[in-house]
């Protein structure tokens, strides 16, 4: 245990996700040795976060204005809507530079064990958008894990009778560079059911 404020700093850092006691200590001592100007900038950013981050009123992504940069961009294809769990997933898809449509951020995945059902996510907002906007295809890009798959299942059921709407799911398959025999049953099963004609 260190004295006073140094220990407080270590404790606070240790609360952050992915930071154990050792890392917290290392970061704390790094900060103690850092140029005061750098600390000042960090302080500023934290202050702004505390004042509240805005979310785009259309897609739910983090935004500096009422509407995010992507929703304001008239060059984006409004007929394509990519549904993701979190704002960080928007960034991941954007980095591919493959997608020119817009997004809908659910705010998580359906996880009954954590008390998250359809009403805790932005499902209703999605339906409202589909009713109001000219969307012809919804691309479901939830995480390829149990909760993400279940969320995709729910979305497919919710959207399948929507007139004139195509619902697609990101392809999932075998990681490149590996051997087939090492693939787990879930991954291999999904790769099989999602196979395509060549």
């Amino acid at each position: 245990m260190y004295e006073g404020v140094v220990q407080d700093l270590i404790d606070e850092l240790g609360r952050l996700p992915g930071i154990g006691p050792k890392s917290a200590q290392r970061i704390a001592f790094h900060l103690l040795a850092t140029d005061p100007a750098d600390i000042g900038r960090l302080q500023d950013v934290l202050g702004k976060v505390r004042e509240g981050v805005q979310f785009c009123e259309i897609c739910g992504n983090v935004s500096e204005q009422e509407k995010c940069r992507i929703c304001r961009d008239s060059r984006r294809d409004t007929s394509l809507l990519c549904v993701v769990e979190e704002p960080k997933d928007v960034l991941a898809v954007e980095r591919t530079r493959e997608f020119r449509g817009r997004y809908h951020v659910l705010g998580g995945s359906l996880d009954p064990l954590s008390g998250v059902g359809p009403d805790q996510l932005r499902m209703r907002e999605l339906l409202a958008r589909l009713g109001a906007e000219e969307v012809s295809e919804v691309i479901i890009a939830t995480d390829p894990n149990t909760e993400g798959e279940a969320t995709a299942t729910y979305l497919v059921r919710m959207l399948r009778d929507f007139p004139g709407l195509r619902v697609t799911r990101l392809a999932s398959g075998l990681p490149m560079g590996g051997d087939l025999e090492f693939a787990d049953e879930l991954t291999l099963g999904r790769a099989l059911s999602g196979r395509r004609a060549l």
């Binding site: 359906l110 090492f182 787990d184």
Partner: protein, 283 residues
């Protein structure tokens, strides 16, 4: 460092650090085990998706100072794939794993019977031949029997008088004879007692011959009984879908923020107060 190997079913997975997870398993011989799966969230992990919830695996562990560490995993049954492909089955499976987690307080305490119940119920959900709601209620009843507080069904909960009886009281432990009947008791139809009995003993031909109305009453009583005995409510229970929705679009568009389905009464959602009032008004 000591190694051990066991088969187990994954109840939960919690993120740990950058790329690890803490996996909670219910194992055949070592009861509940919480162990670290290192690097499991990386796409290159050799564990792949084997340690996702509902997976039935054969795993090797080494005993760590605080948590055990998983070193090798092979799949015994890939239950997750069919379960996550159906939202009703997914919510039922979630309630099953949460219940199993809650009923095993001490890690390392063998719970073979519960392990067999969980794998049996997940297998039934994965195979898909049975009503997920019946599978869940059968699991609940048998898990309560494992915990030592299954409701009395054929004999009176208080005096042991053989039935059939007509009253049921969650607070008093189940069926009640005419003399022992308590004030808050409800009077479900005889078919409700028959279904409770069939589910507890795995008599599927009888269980599957019942009507939806009887199944709903049973779900309400079972949920109320379970919640009465658990200290905290099950988080997943309010999210369990008791039957497949016919028209999700109409349902979603037609609702205004309170998603109450007229055919799914509050009792099946499982708070003890609701369970009692529903069945009281049904008589």
């Amino acid at each position: 460092m000591s190694l051990y190997r066991d088969t187990g079913v994954v109840l939960r997975a919690h993120k740990l650090g950058e790329a690890d997870r803490i996996i909670t398993l219910l194992t055949r011989r070592h009861g509940k085990v919480r162990a670290v799966a290192k690097g499991v969230r990386r796409t290159t992990s050799r564990f792949g998706a084997r340690l996702e919830p509902f997976g039935h695996v054969d795993a090797q562990f080494y005993t760590g100072r605080t948590l055990d560490v998983i070193t090798q995993v092979e799949t015994v049954d890939a239950f997750a794939l069919p379960i996550v492909g159906d939202y009703q089955r997914y919510t039922a499976a979630s309630a099953i794993t949460e219940t199993a987690d809650r009923l095993t307080l001490d890690e390392g305490e063998p719970a073979l019977r519960l392990y067999l119940l969980v794998t049996g119920a997940l297998r039934a959900l994965a195979e898909g031949g049975r009503d997920p709601s019946l599978v869940l209620d059968a699991f609940f009843l048998r898990a309560m029997a494992f915990a030592g507080w299954a409701p009395a069904i054929t004999e009176c909960a208080r005096c042991g008088e053989p039935g059939p009886h007509r009253s049921f009281s969650v607070q008093s432990g189940g069926a009640q004879c005419g003399r022992c009947r308590s004030a808050g008791a409800v009077h479900p139809p005889a078919e409700v007692f028959l279904l409770l009995e069939a589910l507890l003993h795995g008599d599927w031909p009888v269980a599957e011959a019942t009507t939806q109305a009887v199944r709903r009453d049973v779900s309400g009583l079972v949920a109320a009984h379970l919640q009465w005995h658990l200290e905290r409510q099950l988080r997943s229970l309010p999210f369990v879908e008791r039957r497949a929705r016919e028209s999700p679009i109409a349902h979603q568009l037609g609702s205004d923020g309170t998603s109450t389905d007229p055919e799914v009464p509050g009792a099946t959602q499982g708070t003890r107060e609701r369970g009692v009032t529903h069945d009281a008004t049904a008589t």
